[in-house]
Symmetry: D3
Subunit: 340 residues, 6 copies
């Protein structure tokens, strides 16, 4: 069984139920999630070993985040305890022309204020095949950047494949700062994942002639971006999700993968959205699964896209689907007929 | 007022709320339902007398199933008490490309282990016009098969019209077993109802050139199936629902009726799905209502299809619509304008 | 900051949750609303001063209605206390072909039995720029008609612009009665707002060649209606919402405005409906906002239509959106991308 | 099987969940109840036939009230349809020193405006053993008084035993009016039931030296009241519940019965209150059950008190306990040990 | 009408419903509260004008806190906008031997990082009679201490009576720090309120011979503490709540007031607890109400204690009771009889 | 860190919320539990390693049971997959004089039909210190008896201490059958735990002169029972919980422990009950914790009783308390003061 490690922040997510606006709710549904944690849950669901590395405060809210991971079988033994608070994000679910809204309350979180000494990377990467992080982790601040850097170094030293999801967050850092920090981390990366905008927002590499809000996707432009990324950083693979936002309720969803020579384009799904948070993470985890288990590239890509199409129908950050369920969809049954 | 009797199993239905997956819910919405019970509720809603015959355990969960029927006016006086448990089914509601999922936990139920001596068919069919059962009842096992057979005999002896909904359930029996048992029951049947696949699954009678998962419906093929069914079993009418599963959220829904000479085709509805369980039952009850009240065949069919289109918008197994509401739809108002 | 006054009834709204039918619910979600109250909430959200005038019983249910308005900043100081009951309406939310259903239980309400002496119009209109009422208020009965008439007179005396939303309710009065009463109030009105049917239902003025249930909208016909209204009553502006009811789940939504010389046509939105109650009120308040703040007519209209498109995605009667959120939509971003 | 008829109003009850105050709730739990309806449900639970007579509006809220009764097996065939509204009462559940609060919104209800011609008393009382009404029904107004009077006459003519629960409601009528109306109805009554205060509030007959708020119960005084009642009206039995209100959370609960010669005193229960609405009705139905099935007086009384002690632990107006459950308590097991 | 100003923090309170532990909940009930905000709500409920001064972030969670105050009529015009986050506290409700648990996540809140320049004290205290703050506000940090100091100075300059609730919070500061800061604020204070432990925790002034956990209250000791406080700081009045914690479900609750010459002792209530957060604030607001409206001291004290006894039965931080409801209890009706 | 293994059934528990009766609920709260699983969760909470051995069906309901254990850190690697169904129990929570009610629907469960070959005992007991089972497991049937026997043999062979909780369930087997089967298992047992009635119900060993329903506990009698048990089976320790059922809402709770020479009696707690299911299991796990970590006997006993007193305040089968929380209570703080 392949082993994957991810590093990042897990937050308490507080969402107003049933599409209610923040100002009208007197109740929040609570779950836990974050890009890298979400990837771990998916990988365990697909049958791999996955270890999540972070730091949570040693109170019950911190413990609840750990429990949420354990519930689905994620290895939490290397989660450090300490710090003042667990990061929080508030989520208001949109509909039709009304966009979903996220309010972050994650500053000063336990992981953002963690020290490199709290993680034993040698032990963490022992026997591990793959390491994944996202652009969010270094964006949390100096300390988190340093931790990410050490993790990358240790991963490389242990001969572990490294993937990154660029995941640019404008509320966490500027494009300039992102470019500066991420450029130092990219040399360790083998597989680079992003959405339509990340390459431009992080590295200033543009996908020409695309208008992501209105959904005409220019695949050649994306291939061009991928090519530039590989030229600049020497990645083995570059993958990008391609979201067409018709409205907050309906999206088109596909992806492409470029291996330096050839670009692979996935099937496109029209998804009716229940919860699109974690869509990118479910793609990343599907792709990691496909690559680490050495599937052909087109298959790996289709698995990743189908997995993340399904994610859009599931509440919470975690993509609670099995390998078998994804495969039913990649094999063409999107009819939604009742399974009994 | 016409009187209808149905025989079958009523189960406790436990559904995870709000499209949640089984593995993430800590609460189940509870209601009660089953093919034949659902038919009774509809018929009472349309103004007929309807009596449901089954057996439930003599504890509060059993009583709750009886109460659920009484609430809507179903005659429950001939429900036997005894046995160990009420059958249960778990329902996870899908969306978009993710199908709904049913887990049955119905083995060893009170009705599956009932004895024929517990039902006084003479009394049950006294003054009754119509008897309806589905393929699920004999599929519950030897004892239930025997009860169904006795009910059919008694119905015929009492000059009661008999209808069946083939309702093949692969988790309950094989096609071979179904063919063998159902073939013995069909001689008692006047009206045979099914979906696109039932005739093939139960009797090996094929609708050629149809691809139900992708929705191109070949009406001639269905007429051919109906013709074969009438030839083999001498039914007076054969009806079939025609579902086009675009996704778990949206379906096309129509039906056809064949009277041995002519086939009638209904209007097609594109339904946005709230809950599609009981869709077939709501069609059957609409058709029974139309036929027992001697409506012209096209009208009876349109009533049945409109009724079941509405069912797709209602939570639970029961189709809680009135005759007037169905008629508004058959008369063309599907605009959904607020009624105030 | 502009000041607006509205006069009308605020009711307790009891809605069955999650599309449940009345006969299956054992719980009602409770909120408060009514055409004119809804307008006030929107105007406060857009940054204006808004005062709501009504009468509520002096018990906790009455107080809760007042609190609901205060919560969003509406000025409630001129709400009279007395009477026996707060009007109630029950709401069942439809889906697909099943229409939403409203049961009114509003007879004998506090405002319907209020006396003109309970309102100090001079004080109420002090420093006020705009007065708005709807056809529902005089429809509540003799006393409410008299109050509405006095309010109109006082508004005119205070040099306040007056708008009406015709809002015909067939359960409250006949077209004849409406015509007779409303015709006496129209001389005070500067801006007349309605939906596709109101002009005909209230004044017998027809929009020819339109079939609102099936959505082919004939804009010329509506312009003709507006022209007739202006000719008869001397309004400055006439505006009409144009709803295309594809189903209870999906509607087309646009509007037109006529200034006696030219007709302005808005963009059309295809809305996926969460809650369409208050759609017309959200249009009226958007338009009042645009006009009272002296926006160009096309802009005012687009603001009003975008605002009410958003309303369709929000539970409750109140349109809980900010000016900024409406402007994002009028500026073309209906993609529903997550705001983070 | 004994048959009982009751006549009265059934209301929609809207209660704020979880002890919330009216001004803080945005949701109401909905159920249906009313003194005489509650009695019917209990009697069916104990195995008798019970028929409830009232009038409800012919809309879904009215139908839901009927369904609520049918669910538990009450005979609803003689419920008339018509009128404008179903009476409503709002319930806020208290705790400790904070009392529960009821806001009635029941004026103009369907039954209050019913006509005597809508009820066929001859058919209603055919084969019936017992008729029960409460002081609330005539308090609803002239029409309801007339209906009650006709019902009493018809009951007597049909040789049916008649019981009344005095149930004085100061918001419905004054003591004077109550005395005048009830005094005309009492000649038809065989069994008179009340609480500690009813005899004084309705007939001015005082229980001396009692202080019901602080719970020292003077049984001799109650016997004296009972004696006076029998002297004035010739009842066969007089029964009174004896509530000691320690707080909104804890009450003492017992009762006495007087047969003109001897007074019987029940065991006292200290009840932890979940929902005390319907406490008196559950006593009345327990007593009717005991008397109509000809139990010894002490037993009948103990059954009635135990039944109503249990009612205090059950949400809603209806006392959902079986005869067996009451008997376990009368036989002394109030230990609350888990039944498994 | 008397006007009162309070200054402090309002937080988002996230409580697990129904006594659930943090680690088992997937939902939080959300409301808003904080010592000084709670006082404002009570005072408005009693009929006074109350203005709350704080700072909230300019996003929807901040706005929701403001709305929560507006809903009950608190004047929010002087709430500043800015900063990063609204303070949060998580609440787990205990029972029996299991204590309630609070996890604070309030560091870096908008008010803790506010600047004195954001408040116009002259305007804030214009026409105001009373100013109230608690020891929590200066405990938030340097900036908040400075703001509190300026507020005190401005209040004194405007001839406003000043009260403090000592409210020691060990997680916010040490006793030493508290002593040092609070000692500088006390010269502005006229009325000093605390619980049994505050005087010792803040100023090292001991109530001898008391054992608050086991509830034997030594009133003389408390009088002695009050005397010492007056001697040291020159207060006009000192008041203390006296809680006897029998368990997390049941408490004894009373209070004493000392005017420098005489000590007044209140009635004691045994309260069954629904929610005890805000108990002290409800006492403070009751006392302020009594004193600002110039009630006799014993009456003011009884009002305050009765008000806070009622608070223990109400969910949320706010004490949603009216003056009339408190007076019913002070006049001796704690029987909890249903009010209808 | 000590390692403990338990063997038994984990069931889906379906409880009606908020004290509702089965016949009135339309929703069930779902959690998972069972005597031996509950013990594991507690032990992990106290810091030990705990492994649960059972068999669950390989569908999502089975997986959810496994996830529930993983969430709190239980080692689930030795749970076998297979069989048809997960056992279910329905729970209705009582109050005051109304007892809680359990309906079992556990026949034919996966573990009841498991085969001994599905468990590798050698691996399971590798490095393990303690093995615990209850009388429920062998009561599930022949197969489960055989599995239990093999487990006991393997435990002994591996030098593991064995404890049993007698846990007699009359719905699973008769006293005779229990005596016969359990007598064969007892030779492997070192520590025998039960409640007041188990020794008599299982082995016919009587505690004289006790009346458990009314709570006068005769400690000498229990010591006598313990002595007889040790004489007959050679246990090292015998422990018994001592419940005094005042009502379904309030119980007295204590325990005794006998070591063959001396009997230890615990403090008694009066508990206000939130959920008493799992009370005995929480005692057993507390005692195992104390004994396996070699605490003095009185301390171990007090820990066990305090732990289970706390359990009564927690929803669900699992006792979600930490070692520290239990110790606060054993050290005497049962005041329930808010922890902040």
């Amino acid at each position: 069984m392949k082993k994957v490690v991810t590093l990042g922040e897990i937050m308490l997510r507080l969402s107003s139920p049933d599409h209610n606006r923040f100002v009208q709710t007197d109740r929040f549904d609570a779950c836990y999630g974050g890009g890298e944690a979400n990837v771990c849950v998916s990988l365990v669901n697909y049958g791999l070993d996955a270890r999540f590395v972070t730091r949570v405060p040693s109170h019950e809210i911190g413990q609840s985040a750990v429990n949420a991971l354990q519930r689905f079988g994620v290895d939490t033994r290397h989660i450090a305890r300490g710090g003042e608070r667990l990061g929080i994000y508030f989520l208001e679910s949109g509909a039709s022309q009304r966009p979903s809204k996220v309010i972050y309350d994650r500053a000063h979180s336990a992981i953002a204020e963690a020290d490199t000494s709290e993680f034993n990377w040698k032990e963490i990467f022992d026997g591990v095949d793959w390491f994944h992080f996202t652009g969010i982790t270094p964006a949390l601040g100096e300390k988190a950047t340093k931790i990410t850097m050490e993790a990358c170094e240790a991963a490389k030293a242990a001969n572990v494949t490294v993937s990154v999801d660029l995941n640019f967050r404008k509320k966490l850092w500027s494009s300039e700062k992102a470019n500066q920090v991420m450029s130092k981390l990219m040399p360790y990366v083998d597989v680079c994942i992003g959405n339509e905008e990340d390459a431009e927002k992080v590295f200033g590499i543009k996908a020409e002639d695309t208008d992501v809000d209105h959904g005409q996707i220019n695949h050649e432009a994306y291939e061009d971006v991928a090519k530039q990324l590989i030229e600049r950083f020497g990645f083995k693979y570059v993958a990008s999700t391609l979201r067409e936002s018709y409205s907050a309720s309906d999206n088109g969803w596909s992806a492409m993968l470029y291996d330096g020579e050839q670009s692979y384009l996935s099937k496109k799904y029209d998804v009716r959205i229940i919860d699109r948070v974690g869509g990118g993470d479910s793609f990343a985890s599907g792709l990691i699964y496909g690559l680490v288990t050495e599937q052909p590239l087109q298959e790996a890509l289709e698995f990743a896209v189908a997995a993340s199409a399904l994610k859009h129908t599931i509440h919470g950050d975690f993509n609670l689907v099995s390998k078998e369920e994804v495969e039913v969809l990649t094999q063409g049954d999107g009819s939604g007929r009742v399974q009994r």
